[in-house]
Symmetry: C2
């Protein structure tokens, strides 16, 4: 990718990215033209092409860098020890914090896979898979150690990803809950979803048997 | 809305809706023109306007009818008795079945709220709220009866809706699991997420205390 070095060039590129994320999140990739983007940033469309030779180069860069940033944030946050409960807890909080801080980028990353050419779609899906594999690993290790009760690791990972990414659809930082409170509640829901018990409290409080007493039950099995 | 009666007109209108859902799901509302839609259906753009006077009338009709259909399917499926476990079970299965059968319509309904005018956005959100209120009612009744352990009814409802709607993102009917198997696994995950115990089995199998024994815990409270 052509890149103008120096701080003016970097500022321009950052402004292009920011404006592109906003416009694509609002109107969809197919509806946004390079001319419209140039107007938003205040540069000629010709100047845009020095940074991003094609509109798809721009989209791909945005989507790739979103996933690269997400993977880097997880690498920085992940616990050193092999600990399914701690790992899942960190994964959920990091994922929510990362996405809430990047609403436009998250929308674009979730909605515009349809707009990538096959080779670039493959590249973005490869990054996405390497991130989601981390969650599947945590779930599998938790199921194997007995910390979690999971029927299907793959479906559970998808369910958790969609549940925690969905926060950006409705969350607004100025409403009744802070992002930390939301992350805390989603953390508890995730721990219940995977049937976890922790050292600091069970995520299913002692149940009132309903409608009949709890039967004795065997261990959950991981199908994946 | 202008409507041509008789079977030819009905078939044309159905073809317009079907093509519009496909094109908007693929390219986004802003990128799809009435001319392009006319070409897809094989009618003049002028003929489209007899059915849908404006492009936004068309979008609104699609999004409203998606929600009206979803509410009708829930009304037909919902259990007569006040039974949180049965109600939640039916809600999850009905929601997954409805959406998996309507992938394009679900994409459009989830992505194009941004494209509605304020009055019509309000109308679609009102329908959406009346549907989601049913889930919140089930969760609240379950929390009150002790069948569920829920910290925050509103957040739990959002988490469940996003988790079960997300099935359409990855589910393909010709892959390893049938829609019934997927619905069954999501049903179990939902029951765990709300901390449910049922007459046919607990959704958290007897846990291996990890990393230390389970403390005694109080009842979960519903904050909403």
């Amino acid at each position: 990718m052509a890149r103008t070095t120096g701080s003016d060039g970097e500022r321009t590129e950052a402004a292009i990215r920011e404006a592109a994320l906003k416009l694509i999140a609002r109107h969809g990739y197919d509806a946004v033209s390079m001319r419209q983007l140039g107007e938003e940033v205040g540069v000629q469309a010709a100047a845009l092409y020095r940074y991003f030779p094609t509109k798809e180069d721009l989209l791909f860069t945005l989507m790739r860098d979103h996933m690269v940033g997400l993977i880097a944030s997880w690498d920085a946050a992940r616990p050193a020890a092999r600990d399914p409960l701690g790992g899942l807890s960190t994964f959920v909080r990091n994922h929510i914090g990362f996405h809430v801080a990047r609403r436009h980028s998250t929308h674009v990353s979730n909605l515009e896979l349809r707009s990538l050419s096959p080779a670039r779609l493959t590249e973005v899906l490869r990054l996405r898979n390497s991130y989601e594999k981390e969650l599947r690993r945590i779930l599998r290790e938790g199921a194997e150690s007995g910390a979690f009760a999971i029927d299907d690791v793959e479906l559970t990972a998808m369910a958790i990803i969609q549940m925690i990414t969905g926060v950006i659809v409705w969350f607004r930082p100025d409403e009744r809950l802070s992002v930390e409170e939301v992350a805390e509640t989603y953390h508890t829901m995730t721990m219940r979803l995977v049937g976890a018990a922790s050292s600091t409290g069970v995520f299913r409080d002692t149940p009132t048997p309903y409608p009949s007493p709890l039967p004795a039950a065997g261990k959950g099995k991981a199908r994946e």
